[in-house]
Symmetry: C2
Subunit: 506 residues, 2 copies
């Protein structure tokens, strides 16, 4: 038991993410698969420190390690190897097991758990009124929860070791840890609600589906569980990005739309790449125009995905793009937009990656190459030039990088997704799928109520996982209302549960 040291840690260097994404790619074109990252944490330049849990409450968080099974579904001798899985408990608000007070369990995703503790203010904000124990469990292979005590580099580098890195294993980890925790707390009948955002939101909803005996309900924030196979069109994600920019400013949208050809035109000139490198003040000379285009594309995507009301990155970019002196060229305008949301840096575009984010990027590249195959592509000429997602190329690139091909149908085989209303309206209960429609990933989310207790709570103006961030003074009414609705729904789950429990004892 050690006090948790991670409260002040930062994560999410979005810019370096994009860069590293390029650097880990291989000549076999994994680089070309431009799937936006699926994370709750804001890129650093889009973070609002007011929304993170303050370091002053860090002392309430206590770190533990659970002796976790390496492979839950296999009985080879190697599968029995245990590893330390980190989980962090905050019992300050807990009403205790005697009063059957609930447990809020935050399911870690593709990053060390520290960032979630800092960012998922919804839990700390609401724990007092629920008398809830808070527990945050780190996802295997991230942070301090890597099998064999390896570094992630080493674990991912080993073909056998990375084999244990899968979502089904992670969910079983959470089940074991939570069952153990309840035993330890002698809290057999304290109901557990699981929380997660983005990939973690998918895990939360899947956890309720697969382990209803462990979790009473799930708040799955911005969980694009339908962005698999052919359930939603591959264009869905970037259509929302384009729509966001168009609504933000049609001239801005036009400028961006026209910029791609201009970049290519300049690049094709003598010393074109040098000119582009200069215009965009790149940290190192550009190797290709696509390096720049890819970076910009991800910047627009992240501005849309994390278009929080407090930071409004899309407006920030468009104001700068539109506000640039009429005389400057098209690319200077784009650069002004880039600077507007990046802040004043010594250089841009291809700065080296650093910190825990490299870990996220490396881990997620394996996860997308094994099972989390999210087919985002662009087939039509919109704000972005076409770049279709091609499963064959993607598979080949993964195979070339990791030796094994992805299993693109596994997620829908194990978790479902097709005809979700038809399937789940008479099966399952107590899941909130929350979304903000400005978030491009909402296009793969559940946006219609499935039943009276499997519900879609979305806001038109919300961004990625906005609802489970901490409340702020400046929050708009629609966000306050969304969170309030979620709290009311969870209260109903609990009231029904306690009534059922009493009935079962009579």
């Amino acid at each position: 038991m050690t006090s948790n040291p991670g409260m002040s840690s930062h994560c999410c260097l979005w810019i370096t993410l994009i860069l590293l994404s390029a650097s880990v790619a291989t000549a076999h074109n994994l680089d070309d698969v431009e799937i936006p990252k699926l994370r709750m944490s804001r890129p650093e330049f889009l973070q609002d420190s007011a929304s993170t849990v303050q370091a002053s409450v860090a002392k309430d968080f206590v770190t533990f390690f659970y002796n976790q099974t390496l492979d839950h579904f296999n009985y080879r001798p190697e599968s029995y190897t245990a590893f330390n899985q980190r989980y962090v408990v905050n019992s300050k608000y807990w009403g205790g097991s005697d009063s059957l007070a609930p447990i809020f369990a935050f399911l870690g995703a593709e990053a060390p758990i520290d960032g979630d503790i800092a960012n998922a203010g919804f839990l700390t904000d609401n724990a007092p009124k629920f008398g809830a124990l808070l527990v945050y469990i780190e996802h295997r292979f991230y942070g301090e929860s890597i099998p064999y005590g390896m570094t992630l580099d080493k674990a991912i580098g080993d073909a056998d070791t990375r084999g244990y890195f899968s979502s089904a294993q992670a969910l079983a980890d959470y089940a074991e840890t939570l069952i153990y925790l309840k035993q330890k707390l002698k809290a057999k009948h304290s109901p557990i609600i699981v929380f997660g955002g983005s990939y973690g939101g998918m895990l939360a909803s899947w956890f309720r589906l697969k382990y209803p005996h462990v979790a009473l309900g799930a708040l799955a924030s911005s969980a694009p569980i339908l962005y698999f196979d052919d359930i939603v069109p591959q264009d869905a994600y970037f259509s929302v990005v384009a729509k966001g920019f168009l609504e933000s400013s049609s001239s801005c949208h036009q400028t961006i739309r026209r910029s791609w050809k201009e970049i290519d035109r300049v690049a094709s000139e003598p010393h074109g790449l040098t000119k582009l490198s200069k215009t965009f003040k790149t940290c190192s000379p550009l190797q290709s125009s696509s390096e720049l285009k890819k970076y910009l594309k991800f910047l627009y995507a992240s501005a849309a995905q994390y278009n929080d009301p407090s930071t409004q990155p899309m407006k920030l970019m468009c104001d700068a793009i539109n506000g640039a002196s009429p005389g400057v060229g098209l690319l200077r305008k784009i650069f002004a937009g880039l600077v507007a949301i990046s802040g004043n840096l010594t250089c841009y575009v291809n700065s080296p990656a650093s910190g825990t984010f490299a870990q996220t990027l490396l881990g997620w590249s394996w996860q997308t190459c094994s099972e989390m195959v999210i087919p985002i592509g662009i087939t039509r000429n919109t704000m972005f030039p076409p770049k279709p997602f091609n499963l064959n190329s993607f598979s080949n690139a993964c195979k070339s990088k990791f030796g094994v091909a992805p299993r693109p149908h596994w997620v829908t085989t194990y978790f479902g997704g097709h005809d979700i209303k038809l399937i789940l309206q008479r099966f399952a209960s107590n899941i909130i799928f929350s979304n903000g429609l400005q978030d491009p990933y909402s296009s793969g989310g559940v946006l219609k109520n499935i039943s009276s207790t499997v519900v879609a709570i979305y806001t038109t103006k919300g961004s990625h996982t906005l609802d489970i961030l901490g409340a702020k003074e400046s929050d708009p009414d629609w966000l306050v209302e969304q969170r309030k609705t979620e709290v009311e729904i969870m209260k109903r789950w609990l009231a029904t549960y306690y009534a059922d429990l009493r009935a079962s004892r009579n």
Copy 2:
């Protein structure tokens, strides 16, 4: 594609099962863990040929093989190794995909699938009225579905290979095979109902819980899903056996109860084991009195478990025990009971194992030693001498035999079971838990309705998996009624599904 050759195969040499159970045990006492086998198929001496699917319809069954993934939850290169999984299709009665006619999928258990095709007459009996396609899928590691094309002996003998032999993998196999089959048949919206008996019944209910997007409902016949951990008392099984014999005949019950000491007494005399061997006409000389006692105990257990109305083995035994000449000794009476249900054989008790049953026994010994830890024991002096189940001894024996200890809590971790009504009354739907209360395994079954669509359908006089055997002229009314109720429930599932499907298309 080959026509199915297995229709006339027999299985279930109960006597040899018991014997083999002794022979595979180690000096470390696995032998002493007397857990009755969990099978749908009757011991050969209790089979009624009228209840099996006739060989004349064998031509309607066509065998296929699916290229199955070795490990669904792990991405090591080895996990990608595929193996042939056998499944058998009968499309004679199918209404076809255009009419969205249903698919009845029988989930194989711990035996080659041939026996299930022959025994699960409920499917062939009812397929015509449902217009149902029938598919029977063999459980991995049994029959012709063994990874690496190995024999089971070899597969179980290899510590790595047997590691892939688990229930979660088997369920994922069924999901993949059924999804594939529906694609092949272009029958995306044909609803699937899964069936299984005994261990296969557990698989059927678990399949509906884990893969509701693949199976619309499950008929889980005699599935003791609550006989794990400490959910039901370890005495439950043999209490039902004792109750059955007591109700059959209290003098018979008394005779059996008194026989154990008598066996020990004789065994302790000079040449006592030789005397016992002679009295019971054993196939080879007894090595200990416990060899005989264990055999008899399993014989009583099987008589109770498979106390079908057509064969009535408990009555058969008790009539013989009670009807023996008053002058003969206690053990002659017991022997008369043994002969009554075994038939006239050249020898008894310890005949050598043969056929596919050795496979079942070997496979199931691994399954119980890895995850299917069913703690059946006797702590009180009833009709049987006490023989408590001791988890530590069991674990040690398994470890000694297989190198790894069982995971006795895994089944409840993954599938649940504690507080089942509390958990599932507002989660899950469309499961029939059918039981016959004469079956000792019914003590670990679900005997109360959990919700309006997760229901318990039991009969007071029924035996193990009786309802999914084929209908017979001689069937008592309560059995006809039970099956009729099950059919009506499944019709309602389908009607609701078709209505939901129509609504989803409007």
